[in-house]
């Protein structure tokens, strides 16, 4: 397991996507679900922020 983690961490240097894989391996229970949920939530929050900021930028207070 330690070797696998070390290998993944090496790959992680080259690919940010592997960071989630490291987290998935490290989390004991429901890790995969948690990472997927957090990815989904983070993307949705960013989308919400972008949508609001785009409108606000186009409709600045006079």
């Amino acid at each position: 397991m330690e070797t696998a983690l070390a290998l993944v961490q090496l790959f992680n240097l080259a690919s940010p996507a592997v960071a989630d894989l490291v987290l998935m391996i490290r989390k004991k229970d429901g890790g995969v679900t948690i990472v997927a949920l957090l990815d989904e939530a983070s993307a949705q929050y960013q989308d919400n922020i972008n949508k609001a900021q785009d409108w606000l930028a186009l409709h600045k207070k006079a």
């Binding site: 987290l23 949920l37 989904e40 939530a41 949705q44 922020i49 606000l56 409709h59």
Partner: protein
């Protein structure tokens, strides 16, 4: 309204399982993100249809953007965790607490400032119902996240 809130809270808590605090918090944060997305869609749609002034839309989108920023910060903080320590709980709760206060205030303001004539108009009445439902969902999921982090 309170019965709906309790029911939604119960459904959220049951669906999150209550067995793993981090998982429950992650699920509640995900549900909050979706609810804020629905809220923004309702507000933008109302503005497009001239049911909301630009000033009111600006205030509501600033509010939703603040909630999303707090939610994203909490989500990013949970991402790096493998367990919940007392300090991490405090940090996360300090992110979500002000957001929930802001949601409660907006719900309260909406019920105080909306004239009854607007609620009886079919077009504005539907907007008010939709925006209240979205706000209740945000309130419920944020409350669920707080409960998950406190336990």
């Amino acid at each position: 309204m309170k019965r709906t809130l309790c029911l939604l809270l119960l459904v959220t808590l049951v669906s999150t399982g209550c067995t793993d605090n981090l998982k429950a918090a992650a699920q509640a944060l995900d549900e909050t993100a979706k609810a804020v997305g629905v809220f923004e869609s309702v507000v933008l749609n109302a503005n497009l249809n001239h049911l909301l002034s630009d000033d009111t839309t600006r205030a509501l989108l600033t509010f939703s953007s603040d909630i999303s920023t707090a939610g994203k910060n909490a989500t990013d903080a949970v991402r790096g965790m493998t367990s919940l320590t007392a300090q991490k709980r405090t940090d996360l709760l300090s992110l979500l607490g002000p957001a929930l206060i802001s949601v409660n205030k907006t719900i309260s303001d909406l019920s105080v400032t909306v004239p009854s004539s607007l609620t009886t108009d079919p077009r504005t009445g539907k907007f008010i119902t939709d925006v209240q439902a979205a706000l209740t969902l945000i309130q419920t999921s944020l409350t669920a996240a707080q409960i998950a982090l406190r336990n």
